[in-house]
Symmetry: C2
Subunit: 478 residues, 2 copies
């Protein structure tokens, strides 16, 4: 499946035909010009490409795919190029064409009354958020890369982020799609309907499909009312088990209004305080674990604060929470969130970090953490686990920093071994080895093991049905 | 596609082999015994069948499908047999085997802390709700047939209901599935994870797949906190446009806590008052249109009531609401909802009713209603449109009662003509001709026209990939 064996490197003549579709200015062949499209920011997947195409319309995308399908050329769809699993960059064969959506950035329509927006795949997430805000609405998807990631990539990777608890993953925020299929036909599925039971829900295959089944060119997105109030607390807890109790209490009291619940270990906070300028510890005493809680209200900040105080008050009495700082201003709220969002970046100066993006059933996160922390400590004595993330979704970024003073390369050389260890534990909890980042190239070899033969057969059958020549993002996912 | 031409009526010998799988007691061949499985409550799709099989386990379902696939026998999966489009009953050829899930009723697991439940396909929706309630949780799916419909059918038809506004359709309430494929293989996809980006989201094809791609045997369902408070109002409004303004206001103020928003016309309320015993008008004066608003709270009834009063107060001042009754007790709330739920039943004594289950973008519901009401009145002078439903989802049950004193049969003879008229208007709003009931047999011929050739090709390719012999629910949907 999706093997590149039958695919060909585009000839100069073919490159000219592709270039004619988008205009020569938007067909890049020069190694320097293609560099930002064939490498990604972590530099883990350096690629080569004979051609980067930057279409400006769905019709151009369609013409590109029709030609690529006819000529059997591999196409790598790319939007913001911020993915973490190498799904959006070409391989090193120097045969794969990059199809960048970065010129298709239009917000086609905002329907405030209908709570929908239609955006093209290349629209930057922050611009989508801003267009919603301008219309008095909320587009809740929010993640670290929001200033540069693009909505087409968010959709193709079913991005998660920090608002999943209340609003769901990207999948839950998409009402309709426009997709160019492998043979160049356009599927115009741009419906804004809340309910539509007419046949299979085709859009679901492209959401999280990592560009292997079609190229998403536009989407109808769900908007929400903007909360009129918000309250944020940074709370110290003894353990992940205490954090889970606090989550259960917060969920029961705030319901849908619980919009954020993030777990952080002391070591992660310490790294942020050590390495990110302008940060400070919101609490006087140190604590082994912390939780960031965000609560929204349709009424006012006061109402959100009342709910938050209700939750924290109960938790104090129960001994679940040791101490807590409540944000007194918007600046405070941002500062608390900055501590959380800085957790990944702050690990870099500490040397090598072996990463896992895993999820387990929410109620089993504490057990999982105990077991996984003990296991990596036994494997690499002195290593420093920095597990943090979306406790309310069961999604933990289980990052492990190298031992102090250890050799970075030697530590990172054990990446796969440690992944194997942690993923084995994840499997015993019936968890996921890729909670939000996808499979791409990074975890492709692991997929058959975690899905099993029946699911793999179904996926391969879908791939074969949608892209019989295997031109779409070969070597990714399947 | 999915033609029955290559399928065969099971021979007596084959019937014996099928019967051996489930045991002779659970293999029904007698016409009287099979009657409840081959007809449905509206009596629109009387069918014939040589065999009804009632397996008690997933393994038995797998054995049935393996044999059916080998022998090329058509299988009609059925759970509660409450569907409205004939998707769950055999045709009149007397060749199709009914596979009933009505013995697979176990709630396998309730995980209160993880907010999930695992239920078998034959569990009655009301029992699923009750099991959640027993664990202090809410399973929000709620619809008229909840006392007899079964969760497998709810999933296969992506049921909607009255809680979609806050909690989504059935699709949004399913985390994982166990499915038996056409060849008898079992896909064990019973994950309870909130986040899992490992490959295509296969479950989405079976949700709303109407049993044409596989037989759902069990599901992991999402649970929610039980609201600690609730408030319900029955409000009089001048027009659908006023109702839409009220909805916008309510949504902005209550956000996720707005759990119900239902539109009803005076004529519908009058029919309920005339025909359903024990009902009474909550308001002193009559009004052309009514809205039922339900608001939840994570705190208390008082908090929900405060939000509701806030919404209604603003609406009174703006002149959007003419009058409103607020439920003072649980009995009041039930009585208000009974008026809404009785709307379909109360139309029966009024003679023939031509039905449409349509949706349009929420913001365009008022325009659509104006246009559709005028159109059917022009087509059948004196006919009585009774459009009601889930305004907040854009989903209107556009039912049209016959003119007073007209001939029922003559009126009903115009069913397809009127459907064509209304669906044409729906199309001009980019709406759906089946918002929540599905396609089944009733709307099969309409599907190509509303989906277009590209979507139809994708659906047929999926069907061919999943069920190459076309044994699963032939003649339904595709």
């Amino acid at each position: 499946m999706s093997s590149t064996s039958a695919l060909t490197r585009p000839t100069p003549e073919l490159i000219e035909r592709f270039a004619a579709i988008v205009g020569p200015r938007h067909a890049l062949t020069d190694a320097e010009a293609t560099l930002p499209y064939r490498t990604e920011w972590r530099d883990r997947f350096p690629g080569a490409t004979p051609l980067v195409l930057r279409p400006e319309s769905t019709a151009e995308v369609a013409a590109i795919l029709a030609l690529a399908n006819e000529a059997r050329c591999a196409i790598v769809p790319q939007s913001g190029n911020t993915g973490l699993v190498g799904g959006q960059v070409p391989d090193q064969s120097d045969t794969e064409i990059v199809l960048s959506l970065d010129r298709m950035t239009r917000i086609r329509d905002v329907d405030a009354e209908g709570y929908t927006m239609t955006a093209e795949a290349g629209a930057i997430l922050a611009d989508v958020q801003a267009a919603a805000e301008e219309a008095g609405r909320l587009f809740p998807l929010s993640l670290g890369a929001e200033g540069s990631c693009r909505i087409g990539g968010n959709i193709s990777s079913n991005a998660g982020g920090t608002a999943v608890l209340a609003y769901g993953n990207t999948r839950d925020l998409v009402l309709g799609l426009e997709v160019v299929l492998a043979d160049g036909r356009i599927w115009e599925g741009l419906t804004g309907l809340r309910k539509d039971n007419t046949g299979y829900d085709l859009k679901q295959l492209f959401i999280g499909g990592e560009g292997t089944l079609g190229v998403v060119t536009a989407a109808v997105l769900k908007l929400y009312p903007r909360p009129r109030g918000q309250a944020v607390a940074f709370a110290a807890v003894e353990s992940p088990a205490a954090a889970l109790s606090l989550f259960t209490e917060a969920r029961a009291r705030a319901g849908h209004d619980l919009t954020g619940f993030e777990l952080m270990p002391r070591i992660g906070l310490q790294m942020v305080l050590d390495h990110l300028p302008g940060t400070r510890d919101p609490l006087a005493e140190t604590s082994p674990w912390y939780v960031l809680i965000e609560i929204a209200s349709g009424h006012s900040d006061e109402a959100a604060a009342a709910t938050l105080e209700d939750v924290l008050g109960t938790a104090f009495e129960a001994g679940t929470v040791i101490d807590a700082a409540i944000a007194q201003s918007i600046a405070d709220r941002k500062a608390f969130w900055h501590l959380r969002h800085g957790m990944s970046e702050a690990q870099k100066p500490e040397g090598g970090s072996i990463k896992h993006d895993v999820s387990v059933p929410v109620a089993r996160v504490p057990e999982f953490l105990d077991e996984a922390i003990a296991a990596v400590a036994a494997m690499v004595p002195g290593c420093r686990p920095v597990p943090f993330g979306h406790l309310g979704d069961g999604n933990i970024h289980f990052n492990v920093s190298q031992p102090l003073g250890a050799d970075k390369a030697a530590f990172l050389a054990r990446w796969e071994e440690m992944n194997g260890l942690v993923h084995g534990i994840v499997a015993s909890y019936r968890g996921s080895i890729s909670a939000e980042h996808g499979i791409g190239r990074l975890k492709r070899d692991l997929l058959p093991g975690v899905k099993g033969p029946v699911a793999m057969d179904m996926m391969r059958a879908i791939k074969a049905a949608f892209d019989p020549n295997g031109i779409l993002n070969p070597g990714k996912m399947l």
